[in-house]
Subunit: 372 residues, 2 copies
Amino acid sequence: MGKTPTTLRDIAKALGTSIGSVHRALHDNPGVSPLTKDRVLQMARTLGYRPNLAARYLSSKKNLRISVNTLQGTTSFWDEVRAGIREAASSILLENVEVEFRTYPRLGEGEEEAFEAAINDKVDGIISFPSRPQVLRPWIRRSSRALIPVVCVATDAPNSGRLGIVAIDTLASGSIAADLMGRFIGPREGSVAITLFDMAITEHAEKYAAFDNTLRSLYPNLRLLKPIEDHDVEAEAYTKCRKLFERNPDLCGVYVSTEASIPVLNAARDAKLLDRLTIITTDLFPDLVSQIRSGAVAATIYQRPRAQGQIAFRMLHEFLVESATRSHQVALTPHLVMRGNLDFFLQRQSKESASEKADQSEAPRELAEDFA
Amino acid sequence: MGKTPTTLRDIAKALGTSIGSVHRALHDNPGVSPLTKDRVLQMARTLGYRPNLAARYLSSKKNLRISVNTLQGTTSFWDEVRAGIREAASSILLENVEVEFRTYPRLGEGEEEAFEAAINDKVDGIISFPSRPQVLRPWIRRSSRALIPVVCVATDAPNSGRLGIVAIDTLASGSIAADLMGRFIGPREGSVAITLFDMAITEHAEKYAAFDNTLRSLYPNLRLLKPIEDHDVEAEAYTKCRKLFERNPDLCGVYVSTEASIPVLNAARDAKLLDRLTIITTDLFPDLVSQIRSGAVAATIYQRPRAQGQIAFRMLHEFLVESATRSHQVALTPHLVMRGNLDFFLQRQSKESASEKADQSEAPRELAEDFA
DNA sequence: TTGAAAGCGATACCAG
DNA sequence: CTGGTATCGCTTTCAA
């Protein structure tokens, strides 16, 4: 134990070669004979060589550039994600990281262009929200082939070769929603509905499954209806809900598993069902606040966008700086917001955005938000 | 903007002095004339000098030592806190940090000795759980005077001069507990009890106040009884609860705001009240699992010991390495565990402890747990 | 009290 | 293809 860490010199000396060759071999730079390269790699392993990051950073002038491709602020969600990324970036001790934000105006619009731009710009890594995973998949593949790692936030792009994914835990979200729903509604019989964006999105299908399972095993008195897909179109959500309400007079609860809760609430209000339904929503944004306070929304499941951003950044940075071995799949525990602790969350949000504006002022910045 | 960062050389050149003097002045080392020292400090400020941490780390051989003074594992709570600290320590890029664990066997026993030992050992910083804040206060003061910063975990030591505090948010905990209690119990009238360690502990008094306020404003049908102080003595908790149950036949819920939920549950079972009471507990440990699964415990408020450890470590490290401006008061959002998402938490815990044992093996380590 | 200089470990360039 | 070496910014030691 103890022992001074192995350096390039050590490897060079042990092999009777030069520090330059060792360096080249380790980075498979051009101009090393296959033989020496092998021997160096071998020796590095047996000696347990680990690069000294301080030395590396000190001598190399180049800085990392990472591109953040996300949706423009429809709600505050993506603003929070970006804030989390900025925060994490600024808390890097050895600050040589440059973050470039590329945003697209609407779901699936300009997404590919942003990706292409990032690749052409030869950034070192990409954090991306793949609103249409299937569409983005080839781009992520291309990026990986160009050795540009991609970390997905909020939504996964399966089988795309992405380096990692940071999202809310769908299982935990769906099942806590179901458990709360069952407890809130109580022992009476009835049906329950769930709305989501599209069953083709992995996360949404998983939330549905978790909600279904938990409801089924713990609250057999409640019957889960077929999921309502809203495709993030307000009108679609509204009309589908109205229809739902008409057809299911025994409906006693709705779980809105995406941010699109406003049309659902409107539909419920217009159908004069607001006080008969137990509504559980997702995330926290200005329009939702009064609904929670009034009791129309019993609880909302907060997806912690800021924490998602922070973790995505760290994941990418760690990989870039030392090919880190850590898990590249992070599923965050959702937070629960109800009337009782609503003010707590609002305060926290306002405090965070306030200190953000202050930025390089004297105002003490908050420590990073959660992780996992 | 941009501009190359100011270095010691820059300051020395600007002042026509040597880099050595500048260094000595900046670190108020002995052997600098008051005059030069002033001029250096002045110039450093106007030039906006910020030390290059990579260079500093590279050239200086000394490593930081920090002492972690916590309770021995009564439950898994402190093991988790320590695990979080180890995790955070090992994820430091520029690893020159040594963590020394000093544990004490029981509340208030050996606590002062551990502190004294740490100070005498001249550690660079201390993370401490002050189980008896009043008792530890003079030690923390002494430590601060010796320029050894102290970060408190889980419990604060007010007015002690401690550098910072990481704990669960008491307001959020108490109020979400109250809100859930009210929702779970429903509209019927009745009384509700809360147990805690001692009202003299700030955190406990705050949880009580938050619970009380929320219950009062949202659920006037419920009446909160005087708090039960258990002082972490099982027998005390048990007998006090039995008495409570006898005297309050209209009792319909209990919020156990500390980890000491088992005696309360036993008392309820023995009094044949288990299925009539809505019980909300705190934290998650093996004995609690079956109680949650059986429905005896409706929900438990998880205090995220691992995250507390991680954040405490980061806070201290940041301060030590660059006198960081960040907030030194972190209040974590508690997590909610119910039957529905219980397995999620158990899986997460087991996964984490598994990868911990693996340690330097190939097994991918988990990314840090939450923050804030 | 001050100045000068030898490292720390990796990068990058130049000459062989 | 390979070996040597200046360099990054700071700490630390040694002379002056």
